[in-house]
């Protein structure tokens, strides 16, 4: 009997997690590790391993084939381009402290799509194979060019069988025309709600007047468009983190129950202002505290809440083929199933790539919508975008659930070959997966209730938390 290679990790309580490359996992102890490493597994060990899909007898036997399937299903295979992010203007009517490279002042000329760029973009859309499309408008503040949004939307509704639009807006200065645009059935609103009113004002709106304007418009958006059409993301300053309960209360008061916590991501000069490692530690601690607060909340609330990215990680542990988040994929092939078109018509594989290029670190552009698409740099990057046999990741028990984000590495370190444990991406995800497994193996009924909700199970069952005694 042959055992598929097992990766292991020791947790703080001294027990070990073992996982194979297809994401099958179990908890055990150091004596099992020693027996495994020294080729001294017992019959009892083999019996457990066989029952749980860790063993095969011959290459291409049923067990081997099933493992291949599960392994293959963990991999991301990009489809046709069916998701585009448009930046029709970099101009913005707010100036949030943490937004460094994504905006210019509202009256600055030369940072909008011109007519040629618009026409070239529509022609580009027309050339695509897909019959479905998701179009996301970002900026700056995209509603400053509502005329461009209207024209793009009209074209896409005609050209594609199924299409959906997302407008990433700060919800300021909305007139009749803007409200009318947002009210369409195929159009969704994504905005920023930085924790609660006081943090939001400190980080974004600055004056009480503008804060009131924002919250008024948010309330109006929920009322007119309906809660399912409006989502908000909080951006939090790790130096000044708000009480999790106040964030939960703030969001649920707007009927928003999926909260995607994001730390301010400093680029370039702002990063040097304080120690990056220290901030990662602080963020991780806060995030864990936030999850615990949600578990408490969900124990008694009528409607549960979730932290969006945490639930995504939980589901990536338990399921294969869960590739909906663009940052957490393996292989993370860029520039194929979605693209960004900047205010000057330049293609980028991701929004982060656009920002990294703007600060001059490396050119990740992929050509220009007027002159043509070109993917030489990104193709080179894609060749490195897997974690399966990376010298660090191959040993990591979280590897099958994790991914790679080379653009984040480039942005922070200027290179993609750092030892993984030295990267923010790895540290952040190691912490997240540690927390995921802490919850999966918890015997606390409060925790189990939330785990079931977040994992998509009608009720919790310890069968998902295998232990080899």
């Amino acid at each position: 009997m042959n055992v598929f290679p097992l990766k292991f990790r020791q947790w703080d309580d001294g027990t070990f997690l073992f996982a194979d490359d297809a994401g099958g996992f179990f908890r055990s102890d150091e004596t099992f590790l020693t027996r495994y490493a020294k080729d001294m597994l017992t019959d009892d060990d083999f019996s457990f391993l066989e029952e749980n899909g860790h063993v095969y007898r011959q290459v291409a036997d049923y067990s081997f084939n099933a493992f291949m399937y599960r392994w293959a299903k963990r991999l991301y295979a990009p489809g046709d381009l069916d998701y585009v992010i448009f930046v029709p203007t970099l101009r913005c009517n707010l100036s949030c402290g943490y937004c460094q490279v994504s905006r210019v002042n509202e009256n600055t000329p030369g940072f909008d799509w011109d007519e040629t760029t618009l026409q070239a973009t529509l022609k580009f859309l027309d050339s695509l194979k897909t019959t479905r499309m998701k179009v996301e408008f970002q900026g700056g503040e995209p509603l400053l060019r509502i005329d461009l949004l209207e024209r793009v939307r009209e074209f896409c509704r005609e050209r594609f069988d199924e299409v959906e639009f997302v407008v990433c807006t700060n919800l300021h200065q909305l007139g009749t025309r803007e409200w009318a645009f947002l009210s369409a059935n195929d159009t969704y609103v994504s905005t920023s709600l930085d924790a609660n009113a006081s943090v939001h004002q400190r980080q974004r709106t600055i004056t009480a007047e503008r804060t009131a304007e924002f919250f008024g418009n948010l309330r109006r958006a929920i009322d007119i468009l309906g809660p399912s059409k409006v989502s908000a993301l909080p951006t939090l300053d790790v130096r000044n983190l708000p009480d999790p309960r106040s964030v939960i209360e703030s969001f649920t008061s707007f009927e928003m129950r999926s909260i995607y916590l994001r730390p301010v991501n400093y680029q370039g000069f702002a990063r040097k202002q304080f120690q990056a490692l220290d901030s990662a530690v602080r963020w991780n601690a806060y995030h864990a505290e936030f999850i615990d607060a949600m578990i408490d909340y969900n124990w008694t609330a009528n409607e549960p809440v979730e932290e969006y990215y945490f639930v995504h990680c939980l589901r990536r542990v338990l399921r294969s083929g869960h590739n909906g988040h663009t940052d957490l994929r393996n292989p993370n092939v860029l520039g194929q199933s979605y693209l960004v078109i900047d205010h000057d018509g330049v293609f980028y594989p991701t929004d982060e790539a656009r920002m990294v290029t703007r600060i001059g670190r490396i050119d990740l552009s992929m050509g220009n919508v007027r002159t043509g698409f070109s993917s030489v740099t990104v193709d080179a990057l894609n060749a490195e975008a897997t974690n399966n046999l990376h010298p660090d990741c191959v040993h990591c028990s979280y590897q099958p659930f994790c991914g790679v984000d080379l653009i984040d590495d480039l942005s922070r370190y200027g290179r993609i070959d750092m030892p993984k444990h030295d990267t923010d991406f790895c540290r952040r995800h190691t912490h997240l997966f540690d927390k995921v497994f802490e919850l999966i193996y918890s015997e606390d009924p409060k925790v189990r209730k939330s785990v079931a909700i977040w994992a998509g199970m009608p009720e919790y069952d310890p069968a998902i938390a295998k232990v080899h005694a």
Binding site: R319, G456, P458, A463
Partner: protein
Amino acid sequence: MIDLRLKIEPFPAVEPFVLRLRYDAASSEDDAILVDREAGRFEFDYNGFSLVVHAPDGMDLDGDVIMVLPGQGSAHRLVRAASPHNTFLVTEQCDQLCVMCSQPPKKHHADLFPQFLKAVELAPDRAYIGLSGGEPMLHREKMFSFLEVAAAARPDVRFHILTNGQHFEEADAGRLRGIGVERVLWGIPLYARSPEIHDEIVGKPGAFERLQCSLSNLMLAGASVELRTVVMRQNFSELPALANYICNRLPFISVWALMQMERIGYGRMNWASSFMDTSSDFSALKSAINTVCARGIEAALYNFPLCSVPQPYRHLAPSTISDWKRKYLGSCEGCGSRDACGGFFEWYKHDEGFRGISPL
């Protein structure tokens, strides 16, 4: 209960043939047009011949595809245009003897593949046709040929085929892909993770082993499989182990259908020793369902009345009993969930059935 046969007046047929009933115009030479209609009597013109059907007044026959057999006073309604439940009985032969079988096997086989092919050609737009038996794949060559021709002739039609999975070969991959793996859903039973228990239930030694081979071949071919497990006393406590087995060995299935027994055929004969009252004990089902749901495999409860299912699991219990063999109990009168509930089999006997149910 809905009758799947239509009473017809004698019609000159030398072999079984298939035609479509139309109320207005014909669009093919296989159409019979309604020319006269009185209380309970429909007269159709079929290529100059008169075909008279006796059926209740309110019955909607427009678009139905029927099969007329020589010398018989009734025609089979192969495809009821207004119903989602249309199944062709391919054969009554079978090479297993399942303890709960609702269609006990017979030795004789009548080859009706040409007629079934015609019926598919005449079926309504985007019909979803069931093929069943006995064991249809005892005639695998003809089945594959039938599917290849039918799939090509009607690119909009899909098939749901019930088979015991004892007959798939590695080399079938090419044919399966040629037909279109998304065009056919194979409904295949697996009763337990233990070969002994599975073989015992299906009455055939070695069945489990052969089934693993078929399932592996289907997985490699990219085929779509609905794994079906009838829940009975013989396998109830084994369900959690089976769930684990599915997650590891059969991760490719489209859905795991956990099914209640049907009290007909061998199912009726063996009811007392086999029926598991899941309304009184749902425990093993909970564990099995929660396990596969967590792992991203779809679970479904077929043929469970909603009141027999604990509330957190009811969304997994769609209405699945075919309309022609479905009934509700007297006590269902006041139930708030009656519209969503699939009810009971026509032949369900409540005094030997669920103890723990009441209107919702």
